[in-house]
Symmetry: C2
Subunit: 339 residues, 2 copies
């Protein structure tokens, strides 16, 4: 890796202790590579970074209108939420409008992403069932799509089911890849997940952010209107869309994936922390966004409220006595290409 | 990184999803580099990998004899323990023999490394105080050394205290480095930690495993005799020294450090998972050990009970429905040099 590449370093007494390498692609909506770090053609799993695209058929095919889904419920369909009370409220109304039960959700259970909720779960005050899954909105959307089309509800999460075939069409459309070039796997939540180059993920986000089609416009609008529903307390997806409303659409994915669209610049950004570190991914995304804005539109860069996003810029590393022993922050630079 | 280097990969549906690069050095007790991965001169923090060396003055200066420390207590002085009941029993007798209180321990508190104990802590059934720190044995040893020499107990963990100066002498002696070449930082537990090339960590372990001096012999013997006290349930340090008694001395360190001595081969091994991933470090150490044994002594390699250590060889990755979606395992190879 040349020294200029983007990475996130955890240092101790000024010496880098752990280094998280970042592959990143910054792409225009007409598929020009503007900037990169590491390998912009890095082929990996999109995981939850794909959720806004996976939600498109829900709106485009008429299911969202048919069931009267609100913009809150559409935001949750695109979310990796933290299982906070506000998320459970929305999933409950979502299930109720579609007329499905929690037992229809194929997503299993996991420790909530919210530390507070996770502690309640360990204490037995809360039993996280399928509704509490960070992916419950995506699954409710898939079930709504199946019900709308009269497809079986059973097995909606599996690659051979019409719901997943319909979603794959959409993934192909936005990434510009034939289905044969997209790897299929089983995600943490049991639904299909997709393997493709991060450059194509960035392209899909660039297109998503600019699209004038009603379905993507409505979904992006829902994410922008309800950042808290897209992720949760103290998470970058939420904090960035709250701090800089309307300028950016951001979505995290498991194992170090982060995607963003900046419609004003007609670009998408996708990155993968190569080792999958989830603590590093938000720091890398915010640094990449900052560098891209600074290079392409210094005025807009000046409007990015970095001060409000301090916790996602640099994090002190503290020991068991709360003494600061080091720091975690992004370092290195994107390579920019002539445009 | 050439394709042959050692790494740990988490794959999904056959495609590597997250990759953890490993720098490793295999060194003889007379400082010949036998094998490596990545950069054997990689300079990083030794963290708890240094504990067996940090414990040497405790024995060598006569404190262990003066306070009548048992081999269990010496094993705990070298440990990063999991805060299981057996560890708390030993730290209690250790403190009592030295005549110090828990309040003397400068190590702060943290969530126990044992998941079972961590859950008790979240539930409020257990309040992890300083005794429960994974480093409590090291700290008790440092206090015993201070008391034995008549040095102040206060501030024993700081670089300027005679305890830490005495330990630094020992770190210099075993690594062959002058103090000016060893970086000093504050560890997670507030004590001094050391930055140096991993090759020197491997050299120190090679020498440690072979030494006929009474202090290192007694400490290595204690670790070999009480593997459960060195780490805890289901951890590689414990499992490997239980499964292959007397053949190997192994010690983990935070942020992806693992060190081992194989006295029969007169070697030490030190590795750093570059991104600090603690799940990958044991898989990398066991794979490196297996490759070294296979190359240097196939007969001995045949005796390494890999079947008993399956959980440290490959780990299925399961989703929220317990379906296997991928696997975590070490891949790549050490480079061997003519010897």
């Amino acid at each position: 890796m040349p020294p200029t590449d983007l990475s996130v370093e955890a240092s101790r007494a000024g010496l880098a202790e752990s280094v998280h390498r970042v592959s990143c692609a910054v792409v225009t909506s007409d598929d020009r590579l503007l900037a990169s770090s590491g390998d912009p053609e890095y082929r990996t799993w999109w995981r939850s970074g794909a959720k806004p695209l996976q939600a498109i058929p829900l709106v485009e095919d008429g299911a969202a209108d048919r069931f009267g889904l609100s913009s809150e419920e559409l935001a949750l369909a695109c979310a990796s939420h933290s299982s906070e009370p506000v998320h459970i409220e929305v999933i409950d109304s979502f299930l109720s409008k579609v007329g499905i039960e929690e037992s229809h959700l194929a997503c299993g259970t996991h420790t909530p992403l919210s530390t507070a909720m996770a502690h309640l779960a360990v204490r037995g005050t809360l039993t996280p069932t399928a509704r509490w899954s960070n992916c419950s909105g995506k699954h409710a959307g898939m079930l709504a799509l199946a019900k709308h089309h009269g497809w079986p509800l059973e097995g909606y999460q599996r690659a051979e089911h019409p719901v997943q075939r319909r979603i794959l069409e959409e993934i192909c459309r936005w990434t510009g890849l034939p289905a044969s070039d997209i790897g299929l796997g089983v995600d943490g939540c049991t639904a299909v997940c997709f393997a493709l180059p991060i450059r194509r993920m960035a392209l899909a986000f660039a297109r998503l952010g600019l699209s004038s089609d009603p379905a993507p416009k409505r979904l992006c609008g829902a994410m922008i209107a309800h950042p808290m529903l897209v992720a949760g307390t103290a998470r970058l997806c939420t904090d960035l869309m709250v701090a800089w409303p309307g300028h950016v659409i951001v979505k995290v994915g498991a194992e170090g994936i982060y995607c963003a669209a900046v419609p004003a610049l007609r670009i998408g950004i996708a990155l993968k922390v190569e080792d999958g570190d989830m603590t590093s991914a938000p720091l890398a995304l915010l640094e990449a966004l900052h560098q891209v804005l600074t290079r392409l539109d210094p005025t807009l860069a000046g409007e990015l409220p970095l001060a409000q996003l301090g916790r996602h810029r640099a994090q002190p590393i503290r020991n068991t006595r709360s003494e600061v022993t080091g720091e975690r922050r992004a370092t290195g630079n994107l390579r920019f290409y002539d445009s």
